[in-house]
Amino acid sequence: MTQQTHLTSEAPDTSTAPAPADPRLLTTAASPRGWLQALKRNLRGGELGPLPVIVGLILIAVVFQSMNDRFLSPQNLSNLTVQIAAIGLMTTGVIMVLLLGEIDLSVGSVAGLSAGVLGVLAVRYGVNEWLAILIAVVAGLLVGLLHGVIFAKVGVPAFVVTLAGLLGWQGLHLFLMGQDGSINTSPNGPIALLTQTYFVPLVGWGVVAIALACYLVSVLAAEAKRRRAGLPCKKAPEVALRTLLLALPLAGGAWVLNQYKGVPLAFLIFVGFVVSLDLVLRKTRYGRMVYAVGGNAEAARRAGINVDLIRVSVFAIASALASLGGIMLVSRNFAASVSTGAGEELMMAIAAAVIGGTSLFGGRGNAYSALLGGLVLGAISSGLLLLQMDTSVRFMITAAVLLVAVILDAASRRGRKTHARGGA
């Protein structure tokens, strides 16, 4: 029986002292030069991270601002953040599905269906608006469960299941709306307030301060724990730099939004979902399982992961998030109409996820793609609107941006492959 303990507890003496770093491991010097070198290494290895999107955003800002100086005005930027919230919520759901290596073509129709359910319940039947919102989200959840079960248990490709959903739920949406082309919701009920509420400056600054404090405390705690365990950890200057890089956009955003009406509730809801999804994906066992199933479903199955359960749950969550997007659409238009979710929403939600950096090939990407991709698409449409350009131009430009994003995705995938081998 003695040999049982050998493997982990009687490790050779190298483990008592922190093992010296492997000579093959290129270390990152804690200096701007070291960081730059590490960045270059990552780029060459196909780990692009959020860099292309951020460069794209800056480019868009510079171009549109030079053509119309209202583009970067607080009012325009504030409107932009409210505009992207609805499709952004749909994008967060799409991202989860893409991480599985699948696709959900029904998010637009599900958003529309939930909008219809909300309108019919709240206006035609006079149901309490909060309750109506809850029922609309649950409806979306059930739709997603159905998609997930047909996909995971019956084995129909997700593409087909959700294509049927795209048609079918739009049909049900039209059926629910009946004769009404559009149902106007109360202009000052909870539904409308979702996108009409702005917070006083103090709240915006408070949110920024709390977010930064949480970030700093959690990073410092994690690094301290790593140091105690003798694991490689980030040096203080790097932590400071990262905090600064986070503080700049947060503080800048709050400052700009406070110049107009304050931080909008809709944007806070959207960002809240993005951050929560990110934490779930990176820090929990569930998120690890989602990535594992997306990376290699067979490996996940052999590791004892209930692959079907993960798939069903992801489709359910995706549809519930699409419903939330639909509710935001109703809120912004003060109405649920037959065209809610039936237009470009699906395409834009998927495009935003990919532009934000989530791979179509599964297993790679993160929740922040929804925010970054949404900002890119929102900025393009807002800029073109200011320039009084037609939708036709917007579609073509969006298509070009999407293509660039997909090409980057494919190229970085190839980069990872060629840089992958020959380690030992």
């Binding site: 929990t284 490996a299 297993g363």
Partner: protein, 265 residues
């Protein structure tokens, strides 16, 4: 040799009309590397799957673990006993890093449901150090590892459950010379730590390098059990092919007389 940790006797397995294993006996002791040899279709993988609980054996045979009769009806039965199996298709998640792959499905948690990355990374480091495996960073995706490193990660992954017997189905089949040597080193280290190792391989050089015994299967039956050190290459080949006059001996004779070789064509 000490008493076997795992012993099978009279194991049969039929798939429909195919009798893949008939009355096979097999045993492995702690600290012993047993090579399981045989031609394609001899039943090696089937035997390994029976031991791993992936296939149920036909009734009639017995399996005993440390002298006690046991039944292995599912993979989790085998795992609970302490049998780890590394199949040839490694089943790693390329998009996840080494630590995540090592602990996949077995993550260490702190609050309900949240990952304890520090505990996992320390344990991974300890485990790999104990195997004298040097991998520069544990936080790179396994896609970036070499074939040998991937094989090593797959083996290390199975060791987290602290098994007593490790079975490897053709672990070096796709590897280069240096990487094969790494994996063979690892097998020796497992043996030195007192594990029983079952190694399926078609590569006689690997078998001679690390195995203590060779168990030969032919057409689903036992065809010999040889101590490697005292057995010649020809004897083992004869057992695998079932004849002293076999393609391998004929070929080596031809090589001895080049004229005959050209005439054959």
């Amino acid at each position: 040799m000490s008493t076997p940790v795992l012993e099978l006797s009279g194991i049969s397995k039929t798939f429909g009309a195919v009798r893949a294993l008939s009355e096979v006996d097999f045993h492995v002791a702690p600290g012993e590397v047993v090579a399981l040899l045989g031609d394609n279709g001899a039943g090696k993988s089937t035997l390994v799957k029976v031991i791993a609980g992936a296939h149920a054996a036909d009734s009639g045979g017995t399996i005993s673990w440390e002298g006690e009769p046991v039944s292995i009806d599912s993979p989790s039965d085998a795992q609970r006993l302490g049998i780890a199996t590394i199949y040839q298709d490694l089943a790693l998640c390329d998009n996840l890093d080494i630590v995540a792959n090592l602990f996949l499905g077995n993550e260490e948690l702190h609050f309900p449901g949240t990952l304890d990355e520090v505990a996992m990374e320390s344990r991974a480091r300890e485990l790999l150090d104990s195997l004298s495996v040097r991998i520069p960073s544990l936080r790179v995706p396994v896609a970036s590892l070499s074939g040998g490193q991937r094989q090593i990660i797959a083996i290390a992954r199975s060791l987290l459950g602290q098994p007593r017997v490790v079975m490897l189905d053709e672990p070096t089949a796709a590897l280069g010379v240096a990487q094969t040597a790494q994996v063979l080193d690892l097998i020796e280290r497992l043996r030195d730590q007192g594990l029983g190792v079952v190694l399926i391989s078609h590569n006689m050089a690997d078998v001679r390098a690390v195995a203590d015994r060779a168990v030969v299967l032919r057409l689903g039956r036992n065809a010999g059990d040889f101590p490697i050190a005292e057995t010649s290459y020809e004897e083992i080949v004869a057992a695998i092919t079932g004849a002293a006059d076999n393609p391998v001996t004929r070929r080596s004779e031809r090589a001895d007389t080049p004229a005959a070789a050209t005439k054959d064509h």
